[in-house]
Symmetry: C2
Subunit: 531 residues, 2 copies
């Protein structure tokens, strides 16, 4: 069963070894747990639905509760406390484009709002009902999850928009293909959600971001269907796919999604290299990206993340042995862990590995082979479960991310980390902050920062702590040439910061598009564009 | 001096060897020349300007004549006959964003239309003044051609929008960089024009299309400036760059363009391989693209293009020797020439070459080394001059192009070729047609078709022949899942066919955007969207 008040499957959890607990206590003090609300108490507080009866609309409290919140930290605190705020008034599970169109008509006829819903994994407040106003119908695409068509010559697959990561991959793998899109939320998030929020997967270096994978499909809008045919490339005017990508449910609801797939690769390997310092690591991954070495993933943890990960991994004896070896090879205090993958034919991988090792060696990299790479692979979708683990141990963890040009990466990372590290100084609380770079490009890199702090004495005060940290970091990002999001999207949480990067005319343009597709403003108001 | 009535520099021309002339005569009959108008006679017919005096506006007949027509075949015939139709009423050469804004204000104040002008190389009628209506001011960006900023860490360069290919490359090369964008029009076309028309260069396989190279910049619009900052990637809502790309001067005028550049590669090589048949060639380049072999260009000529190119190359003795050799190795009648390039470090290129040769060998490819590749390289920007050469010999040549998914490439190519080959059958005229595929993608390929026919007895009748051929091919493209353009853009010539691929709502969306940025419809009316 999926957790009603947290991430993922109830049967799955991560261990926090004793050494990890001690490490956190040393960094920010002993943990402090807040009491969780029970499901029954929350269910009892779901108010009556304001929606009329309709064969496609479910109004049961449990359906509405399970679609009320995403996975942002604000959502998490609300769910754990049992203070959900607004619930949708109903949930519909359309099974076809025609049923989606019927729901659009129904919304118009009954004057309600629609919130398109994929996997409910948003960490930026994409699917939360607005605080007040008209009745809300959440439209879950979960039942439209099939592989509908596969053009094996052109490597184009047509899916229902609600297919989640495992559904996408299992249907493709059965025929020898992969989409290769693996965001950390992969187990739960959906193809339609990836498109609507401009998602990026861990192996975007090989497969591209969802922008490169999304080949066409149909968006059902209040102004009619937007059908986008597939072309490998086109110079026939502005690309309409780019209006759908990142539209976050404001312009319409996807009823089918065509994606570019790949044949399953002959071989895939992940390796770990330790660099002696952050500066050398940074220069190395920039060079790898700019030299177009064919890797399928690349990730560089800064020194604090490296130390934190090695400590939280447990097995202190083995880690101590590893650290002695690394120190002897020149990667001691301040070392940074770099993980990279090669995916392709054996011959391609051998060539890429050779190029990568040669380049990394020039920066003092100590190659440790595939052992730690396999560990990364095995736990690649486990990080979101860490929030549950740390919560039980009395800590709050959140992540945020941006991307910026290489000339600004180090500066921006340091400023973001400082804004978080010092963010609770006024109340004498420490924040443990660490960062990795992944999703590298010739022009720059994403910056992915994790921060851990202690809950306050109440949920309200804890939320207030988070708000202060999140706002400080978000301001730092947009004031320092970072995008407000590289992969999480805008939602309601990032909407206040969007205007800095889009500019006045850019914001007016997005609003004009929203009015064009949805004149009455029924679709997901408040997400992407503030109301 | 640049030709006033044709392509390129007057001092540059291509030779048509005797064997080539004989070949064409055999294919479609002896050439038939039409008389060219003189420059003086045309200049004498430039009417008085309807524009008011303004310090930025030149109203001299010669300026207006040189900016009246692009390089489509309709433009060509008009220029050779001396029947230019409409001339712009003036030409402005702004030197700054502020001067562009001043011209926007001036257009509003004096109720005139603006046509943004880069290199005047459009082959789809992008820069032609509309047939009737308000006075027209052509805005040439030619004086805004400088490299303004270079971020060597992030590999981002800021240029004036009017920098043409040689200006872009020479300013970058002086510092060790390249943009790597080489459309066939490179000698004359400009960065701003590439962005506005979604151009693609011969080495897009390595450097990407202009969509991948365009990182940001400023579009001056009637609704204010649209400033787009650079990010390596972003999930912060729809990507505003994509509205500028392909906007064809309808939304605004670029005042600066930021592009992603590359360090100059250590080594670059072009190779030629002959495949025994079209089917084998097609399968080979699809596999090369889908296996992500790191090539920098890839082009496959069909059998007729191969034969035509070998014949037009001259040196019949050497070619005969080559053909005997190829036949002995299994590539005889029906053989197809494949050209590919590798660009990168020596180690990367060696690895890619090995992978490519191994794959091509499996399809019966006969490798001929770099000799013909060097020939391709030496004449890579010469093809547009061929129109002049053939015109002198009494033939008309035009090209058209599309892109489609792999499963449709062969079908679409055959249909396009048939529509052209049989297009003048009613008047008993033959058309010589041949095709190459270049710009390959995992999903599909561009299809680039050249057709040669004889002029009729008059210019009007010749234009009518072209119209019939162009319309037949364009209908064939859009009715058979091709995009109306992969690299030439829409302009006025392709605008009637655009709705098939954009759909009703797509067209309405583009119109809504045009009204949003330019409520009075002053910017390049008729291009992209029909009026």
């Amino acid at each position: 069963m999926r957790r009603w008040n947290g991430w993922g499957e109830e049967s799955t959890s991560m261990e926090l070894p004793g050494s990890g607990r001690a490490f956190l206590a040393e960094q920010i003090g002993p943990g402090l747990a807040l009491p969780d609300a029970s499901l029954d108490s929350v269910l009892a507080r779901v108010p009556a639905s304001r929606l009329a009866e309709h064969p496609l609309v479910l109004r049961e409290p449990m359906d509405r509760l399970l679609h009320a919140r995403g996975q942002s930290l604000a959502d998490w605190l609300a769910m754990r406390e049992g203070e959900f705020g607004r619930f949708p008034d109903g949930v519909a599970y359309p099974q076809s484009a025609e049923q989606i169109r019927e729901l659009l008509r129904h919304a118009q006829a009954t004057d309600c709002l629609l919130i398109p819903y994929g996997g409910g994994t948003s960490v930026a407040g994409h699917i939360n009902p607005p605080a007040a106003g008209k009745p809300v119908l959440t439209v879950s695409l979960a039942h439209m999850n099939r592989l509908l068509e596969l053009d094996e010559e052109s490597l184009v697959a047509t899916f229902g928009p609600g297919a989640n990561g495992p559904q996408v991959e299992s249907q493709l793998r059965a025929r020898g293909y992969t989409l290769g899109h693996f965001p950390q939320s992969w187990e739960l998030s959906t193809l339609g959600g990836w498109v609507a929020s401009r998602s990026s997967g861990q192996q975007s270096l090989r497969y591209g971001r969802i922008e490169q994978l999304f080949a066409g499909g149909t968006l059902e809008t209040f102004a009619g269907p937007l059908d986008i045919p597939t072309f490998p490339a086109s110079s026939a005017g502005p690309d309409l796919r780019e209006l759908v990508l990142g539209s976050e449910g404001r312009f319409g609801i996807l009823s089918s999604v065509k994606v570019r797939v790949s044949r399953l690769a002959e071989q895939e390997r992940f390796y770990v290299v330790f660099l002696p310092s952050w500066e050398q690591g940074l220069a190395a991954i920039r060079d790898l990206a700019q030299a177009r070495v064919q890797l399928s993933m690349l990730r560089l943890s800064n020194a604090v993340e490296t130390r934190t990960q090695l400590t939280l991994a447990g097995h202190p004896g083995q880690i101590a042995w590893l650290e002695r070896y690394l120190k002897w090879r020149g990667a001691g205090e301040g070392k940074c862990m770099l993980t990279f993958g090669v995916t392709g034919s054996r011959a391609q991988n051998a060539a890429s590995l050779k190029l990568a090792r040669r380049l990394l060696k020039a920066f003092g990299g100590v190659f440790t082979g595939t052992l730690l790479g396999r560990k990364w692979e095995a736990s690649r979708f486990r990080s979101p479960y860490l929030r549950e683990t740390l919560w039980q141990a009395g800590y709050v963890v959140d992540t945020l991310e941006t991307a910026t040009d290489w000339s600004n990466v180090d500066n921006l990372m340091r400023r973001i980390e400082a804004s978080l590290r010092d963010g609770l100084a006024a109340e004498g609380e420490r924040v443990h902050v660490f960062t990795h770079l992944s999703h590298v490009y010739g022009e720059g890199s994403s910056i992915y920062t994790t921060y851990v702090f202690r809950p306050a004495a109440s949920y309200a005060a804890t939320l207030e702590r988070w708000r202060r940290l999140k706002d400080a970091a978000s301001r730092t990002i947009v004031d320092n040439r970072g995008t407000i999001s590289h992969q999480h999207g805008v939602g309601r949480d990032h909407a206040p910061y969007l205007a800095v990067e889009k500019g006045e005319l850019g914001m007016a343009t997005l609003r004009a598009l929203a009015s064009h597709f949805d004149p009455a403003g029924r679709l997901n108001p408040g997400s992407l564009l503030q109301d």
